[in-house]
């Protein structure tokens, strides 16, 4: 063990030595100093990620932690508490994490579904308070360029699912946003797809490329290389407006004539509710300062996300994100998943 630590340290040193020169923003630092509590932080802050290392959430958190470290000089350790598709980490944050500011979480809004539908009263997302918004990643619908929907629009696809119900194969991830988006399209258009279950959105996109399904839902980053190679094409995005980095892709709303076809991964930072107010404010300010760094925004942009101005400029991010959670609750109530 000791040997390994030494090795890791040596490798780390090697890495640091190769940094050409870490940029440090002075302006953000000054603003932060104003809200910094005198006695905090005196030890490293642990940022919990509930998904495995290497995924979208993990990369988002590690980039954030690194930028926050550069700005403040505080040590921030990213810790993957995985298991139960996020359930284990969510429950830990909500019920066991120390409320002293040293435990923070980088969450994705899937936490709301976990809390409302699966937590069975063991914990709730309201035990956690959002303190900073990071980015958004809207769900997209994809088809192959040589498959049955070559040159067709989303409207055509939905029409096909209406004419021949239960024959169009679409990849879904059961019990999550993928399922909800499909269900919403089915319900509001009187159509029915054949839902083939996959473990993740990425696996569904692979299924699409291998022609094992006709339609797949997923996110920009995982589909981008296949779009560039001309294998697949996005036919709709579940965001309020077209995205600047995918202008050709219409929104689900414009294709299907609705206004509530909105399914987006939101990524944000939370602390346990009982964390002291001054520490909450400082952590919020740290996130905000980090998000003002061009370097971090560029890194995030490479992951194919966008920054929702409504959430970025929200006067009170806690309320803004809680309102989003309530919107999701309304959907669960409306679809009979949750008792009002």
């Amino acid at each position: 063990m000791k040997l390994m630590c030494k090795r890791l340290a040596a490798a780390a040193g090697l890495g640091l030595a190769l940094i050409s020169g870490a940029a440090c923003a002075q302006g953000a630092k000054a603003a932060l100093a104003k809200v910094k509590p005198a006695d905090f932080p005196t030890q490293p802050i642990e940022m919990t990620v509930v998904y495995p290392a290497g995924g979208g959430a993990d990369l988002t958190a590690r980039l954030l932690a690194k930028t926050m470290e550069d700005i403040t000089g505080n040590r921030i350790l990213v810790n993957n508490r995985t298991g139960g598709a996020g359930m284990v980490g969510h429950a830990w944050l909500a019920t066991q994490a120390p409320a002293d500011g040293y435990a923070i979480g980088m969450l994705v809004n899937l936490v709301w579904g976990d809390s409302m539908l699966r937590a069975q009263g063991r914990w709730t997302h309201t035990d956690l308070e959002p303190v900073g918004y990071l980015n958004s990643d809207p769900m997209m619908w994809f088809v192959t360029n040589d498959g049955p929907f070559k040159g067709k629009t989303l409207k055509d696809i939905v029409q096909a699912a209406k004419d021949k119900p239960g024959t169009i194969r679409v990849a879904t991830v059961p019990g999550s946003m993928w399922d909800y988006s499909i269900e919403q399209v089915e319900k509001q258009n009187d159509a029915r797809f054949l839902r083939v279950p996959f473990q993740s959105g990425g696996a569904g996109v692979v299924g699409l490329i291998g022609n094992n399904v006709d339609v797949a839902l997923g996110f920009y980053a995982e589909a981008k290389p296949h779009m560039e190679a001309g294998k697949i094409r996005g036919v709709g995005v579940a965001s309020p407006e077209r995205l600047s980095h995918a202008k050709d892709m219409p929104t689900l709303n414009e294709q299907l004539g609705g206004k509530d076809y909105l399914w987006t991964l939101l990524r944000f930072v939370v602390v346990p509710k009982k964390t002291p107010a001054d520490r909450k404010a400082y952590i919020g300010a740290m996130v905000k300062a980090a998000m003002q760094q061009k370097s971090l925004r560029d890194e995030y942009a490479k992951l194919g996300v966008y920054f929702d101005p409504a959430l970025e400029n929200a006067a009170n991010i806690t309320e803004a994100l809680n309102a989003e959670a309530e919107r999701e609750r309304a959907f669960y109530v409306k679809t009979g998943r949750l008792k009002p």
Partner: protein
Amino acid sequence: MEAMSGLFTGFGVILTPENLLLCLAGSFVGTMIGVLPGIGPLAALALLLPITFSLPPIAGVVMLAAIFYGAMYGGSTTSILLNLPGEAASVVTCRDGYQMAKQGRAGAALGIAAIGSFIAGTLSVVALTFFAPILGEWAIRFGPPENVALMLLGLVCTLYMITGSALKGLVMIALGVLLAMVGTDVVTGNERFTFGSIDLSGGLDLLAIVIGLFGISEILLNVETISKSTLLADKIRGLFPTREDWKASLAPMLRGSGLGFLLGLVPGGGPITASFISYAVEQRVAKDPSRFGKGAIEGVAGPEAANNAAVGGSMIPVLSLGIPGTPVTALLLGALVIQGIQPGPLFMQQRPDLFWGIVASMYVGNVFLLILNLPLVGLWVQLLRVPYRVLFPIVLMLSVVGTYSANKNLFDLWVMLAFGVSGYVLRKLQYDLAPFLIAFVLAPLLEQSLRQTLVMSPDGIMIMTQRPIAAVLIAISFVLVALMIRRGLTTRKTGGIPHEAHV
């Protein structure tokens, strides 16, 4: 020819002091984490990922990839010396590797494992060099029906591994399948067999089970015979493989390389499945299968080659299509994405420097690993001289740390402990644990693929016969089962399978 010029480009990129140093560092770290039980390549890669942010893309990925294949080299060490798998892919190496060590031939086993890893690692990179684009397209055709067929074949191969009572072996396979069902239902998203526990909602952790079942139970068994002061029964007989060892190992290594490479390619494959199937194949083709489990060098050479070749195979979908088939390759992909590079079908054309650089680094890394590992054999063998009372507390501590560090979940430690005690009891009762493990690994994939297949198929299960790859794999499974039954019937006439304890 395109591949050759590409490779030259690659070596041009990789042969700088900085890149070579990082490749060496990655190889060393990989070997170490392979040796340490519990701490796997995934955890190490996650820890080192932030370092790569500030490195040039090629340098970072070269180091991370070296850790990945380096771990497969190191994984066999504790399997052979302590009967404690360093990685799940080395579980099967325990069977004959540990028996060899007990006979004083640890050096030969370690040497063959290192050389087999080198040959397989290099062969799989050669295949990667020349066939990456074609094989990538082939791998993606592996849909749910093909996966069902592959998993079935894997389970059938497990039948061949059963030593001793066939009934006990089947019980263990069934138990493995059963316990794999705990967790979230892949189709409905509902929890099952979790008894309302959040910790069980994601199922039982593979790593905790491997360490408990094989590591902790081994310690418990050895504690009983603590009167012997060290592990070594006989004198160490030579540090390096003899001429006979070579002759016996070469064919298994080559078969293991081919098998591992092909299984690494496809989503349901991977190093664990590859090592198990390779073992079953070697046992099947051996002139005297009864030697297996008692220190047959083929049982080390084949699986160790297979798990290394699988690494090369699993790089193909990532590099040629941008599709990761395993968590580790997903993390490698993540390291590139963070640098603003998204490998996809055009990766080879758009960034030939990176593509060929990574490929070239794998040639270099395998040479480094061989140079690193062969001299270490002598050092590792000395571990056998360490007294029990010193060695086992250390191993126990490493097991606990390793299990906890994977998910940072205390519950996993209880799982490890429970499986440690169960493993001890089962081994006392002469149940073979390896079939349990392979069943546990294959069952979730089998279930998911089967249910996907049935959802997407218009003619129910008949879809399996309509897809050529699936049909061939199913046919092989049937032939293997038929052969097995025939063998069972003939031995019954002559007095049954010898009832042999396997520990």
